[in-house]
Each structure stands twice: as C-alpha cells, then as structure tokens.
C-alpha cells in the first residue's frame, strides 16, 4: 500500500470519531428509564439517538451530550420526559424535545462559532440556544398542561413558534411564558425563578430543584384585593 493510501484510510477512520456526538448518563438518582423500558442505573451508559429519558418521582438524571463543537449538560428533574430527537444533524445541531416536566440545560461551546448548535422544543415552540444556561418547564396541572415556561440564567435564548409567527429574545435574568403552547409573552424577570437550583455538579451540592411551578402562576405583585 502506498503512503498516500494509508493517509487517506487514516482520515476516513478518523472522521466519525472527530465529528461524532454522543449522549451519556453522567449522574442519576432514583428511578430513571430509557424508552420507558430499560432502567438506567449505570453512570456512563450511552443514550442512543431518538431515545426518551424518563425520570420517576424523586429522581434526577444528568445527561451529557458531547461533540467536537459543544458540550450540553441536561439536568432532568423528577417526573419528566425528554426525547433526544437529534443528537446531531447535518449542521451539527442537537434537538431535544421536552415532553413533560422540567429540565435545566447548560450549553458550553468549544469553538468560537456563533452557529446555534442546540434547539429545545416543547409544544409548538422552539428555543434556539445562543446562551449557556436556561430552564424549561411544563406544568403538571391539567389546567395548564399546554403551557411552557422558560427562563435564562446565562446568555440569550431565542424562542419562536414553529410556524414563525412570533419570536422573542430572552436575556439573562428574564423568563417567558408560552400560554397554551402558542402565545409567547414578553420576556421579564419572574420572582419565582429566583430560587431555582442551577447546580449541575453533584459534588457541589444537591441537584434537587424545590421550586414549585405553581408559584409561577401566582404573581403576588399583581394580586389586588382592595
């Protein structure tokens, strides 16, 4: 074999490893299911493309999606369901679908590229991540089951309807309420987000988020009784 052929073969073998994207269970607590069947109870377990991760009551899952361009860490709260719809598309973008519950998402870019490499969907809205840390939640209460809330801890997140009819940029410290999964409110600071637990490192303390979403629906500053 010629030297040129060997170099070419080396490159072909190298390409998938350089551009591959993988999702792994980084930490778990309680009962975590993969596709509602397999119990995820081993740190480092690979989560395949298209999988659904489900957390039961008092459970937490920490998932890491790594590629050459970015690392995404997802803390899935109790009673939640997240689908990894696309680990990496042709443009290198990861797409997640939050079907139920809540998730904290941390996005760490490895390159200076401004390309949006993470998109989170819930109901009929998409959240294009330009920032680094945000929280998405869907209410458990049946009355608000179609609502979505999102707030940003670092950076900026672009929220838009899937049909593109409405678009908002949510900045650090701001939150947004998507009523009935469609009507996107103007971003503003919500008092209920102050006590969210953004910690994603089990060594640095509890990962449990004790903020109840009901508090989002009780804007005490808007409350008039006389």
């Amino acid at each position: 074999m010629s030297k040129q052929f060997l170099i070419m073969m080396f490159c072909v073998l190298l390409i998938p490893s350089v551009f591959a994207s993988s999702a792994k269970l980084k930490y778990y607590k309680g009962e975590v299911l993969l596709n509602n069947k397999q119990i995820l109870n081993k740190v480092g377990t690979e989560i395949p493309n298209g999988s659904v991760v489900i957390t039961k009551k008092n459970s937490i899952a920490l998932i890491e999606i790594s590629s050459d361009k970015a690392t995404k860490i997802i803390k899935l709260d109790q009673l939640s369901s997240l689908k990894i719809s696309e680990l990496k598309d042709k443009e290198g973008k990861t797409t997640l679908d939050l079907n139920l519950g809540s998730a904290f998402i941390k996005y760490l870019k490895k390159s200076k590229s401004s390309t949006n490499l993470l998109e989170v969907r819930s109901r009929s809205v998409t959240m294009g991540v330009r920032g680094t840390e945000f929280f998405v939640v869907r209410p458990m209460d049946k009355k608000q089951a179609n609502d979505v809330w999102m707030c940003v801890n670092e950076g900026v997140v672009e929220v838009k309807n899937t049909d593109g009819s409405n678009k908002q940029l949510v900045k650090k410290g701001e939150g947004i309420h998507i009523k009935e999964g469609k009507k996107i409110t103007k971003p503003k600071a919500y008092p209920w987000t102050k006590n969210l637990n953004w910690n994603m490192n089990p060594k640095k303390g509890s990962l449990e988020n004790k903020v109840e979403l009901e508090s989002a629906y009780r804007d005490l500053l808007d409350y008039d009784y006389d």
């Binding site: 503003k188 600071a189 008092p191 209920w192 006590n195 109840e212 009901e214 508090s215 009780r218 005490l220 500053l221 808007d222 409350y223 008039d224 009784y225 006389d226």
Partner: protein
C-alpha cells in the same frame, strides 16, 4: 351569652351618645364591602360597594368604579370614581336655631370623588408582599383635596401550591391639602384575614381602628365664641367579599 348582651349594650350606648358642641366619642363600628374585579391584560377593573355604620349615627355608602394598570412589574397606577353618600365634614356640624348641635343629614347627599392612586410593591419572599399606596383624592362636592398614604404588608398561606389564606396589616393616614386645621385629620389601622374559597372568590373579616380629628370652622367659632378640637375613635369590625373575573 351575658357577655354578648353586655357587648351590644355598650355598643348601643357609645353609638348613640348625646353630642355636645365638642364631639369626642369612641366605640364600635361596622362595615361590609363587596368587590368585583375584571382582569384584561395589564388592566384590572374594579366595582366596589361599601356600606359602613360609624359612630355618631353616621351611615356611609360608597360606590366605586375604576381600574388599576400595571405600569411596571412593581408599580400599579389606579384611577377611580366614587359616588359617596353620608360623608361628613367639619361644616356639617351645625346648630339649628332653638336646637342642639347636631350633624347635618348627609345620607342622601351624593358626592363625586376622583382618586388617582400609585402603589409600588415589593415582594420580600415567596409569601410576603409589601405595598405603599399613595392616593390623591379630589372631592368635587366641596373641592377638598386629600392625600392618603397607606403602607402595608400581606402574608400569603398556600395549600398544595394554591393560595389558601392571606393576612394583611395596613396603616393609612389622611392628609388634608386644602381644608381642616388638622393636617392629618384621619388615620386607620387594619388587620384582616381573607380565605380563598375558590380561585375567583375570596372572603374574610377585618378589624380596624379609626381616629378622626375634628376642628371648628370659622362659622362655628363665631357662634360659640371660641374654637374647639374633637376626636372620634372607632373600633371597626368589617367583612369583605371579592369576586374575580375571569
């Protein structure tokens, strides 16, 4: 039972005491309030019907219509119109010929009051909210202008994530801007509790103390030949019912 009868005996004595030229009095009062709220975006419209039975045989009825607008997250502005009946002013303390000093009958006298209100609020915790309500009131009947300031705290109790009770403590002072010799001519302190019977229905009692300071007018001084100051101290028991739409 004896205590209850005694209570009402004392109440009736204090509420129907004979008036001298200088009216100093203290005793029990009562009030009933019904409010309907309608919310549309950042506007909250309010219709209020208030009926009170005060010392010195004063019966008041107020009908208020207006709205509050959330200008900023921590600031609301309000504009209200009130049709007021039974209001009394220093000029209403009269001495008809061959009769004792008495209050003019104002129960059927309707007055137009306009209120502009500013209420900055601050949330101290997930359950405690503070508010300073500042109101300017213009009385179209006699052109009296009043500035009211009401600092207050409201504490919310939740049950399964939903509001269950709230407890409030308010203190309000009335500052005369263009009438009365007493700059602060009235003050109130309120302590109340409200029960969330439903997301759209809230009810509860409150207690309040009222201090009203009266001063003689020039007309009264001309009749009496001297000036006087009076003070009425009321202890009020009230009940409120609020309905919210939608």
């Amino acid at each position: 039972m004896i205590k209850i009868v005694f209570f009402f005996f004392i109440f009736s004595l204090s509420a129907h005491a004979d008036h001298g030229p200088v009216h100093n009095e203290s005793g029990f009062e009562s009030e009933e309030v019904l409010r309907l709220f309608y919310t549309q975006n950042d506007f909250r419209y309010m219709l209020e019907i208030e009926n009170s039975q005060k010392l010195e045989d004063q019966d008041e009825a107020n009908f208020t219509l207006g709205f509050k607008y959330r200008l900023f997250q921590n600031l609301k502005v309000g504009l209200f119109y009130t049709k007021a009946y039974g209001q009394r002013y220093e000029e209403d303390w009269i001495k008809p010929a061959a009769a004792n000093w008495q209050w003019r009958d104002t129960e059927k006298r309707g007055e137009d009051h306009f209120t502009l209100e500013l209420s900055p609020r601050y949330q101290f915790s997930s359950k405690l909210v503070g508010e300073l309500r500042v109101s300017y009131v213009y009385n179209d009947f006699n052109s009296d202008q009043t500035l009211k300031a009401r600092p207050g705290l409201t504490y919310f109790l939740f049950n399964k994530g939903k509001p269950w009770f709230n407890f409030y403590l308010h203190h309000e002072v009335y500052q005369s801007l263009n009438f009365s010799k007493n700059d602060i001519y009235e003050s109130w302190s309120y302590l109340g509790v409200q029960y969330f019977a439903d997301e759209s229905f809230l009810l509860g009692p409150y207690i309040a103390t009222r201090k009203t300071r009266w001063a003689s007018t020039k007309t009264q001084e001309a009749i009496l030949g001297n000036s006087y100051n009076g003070e009425v101290n009321g202890f009020m028991l009230g009940f409120v019912a609020n309905f919210y739409f939608p």
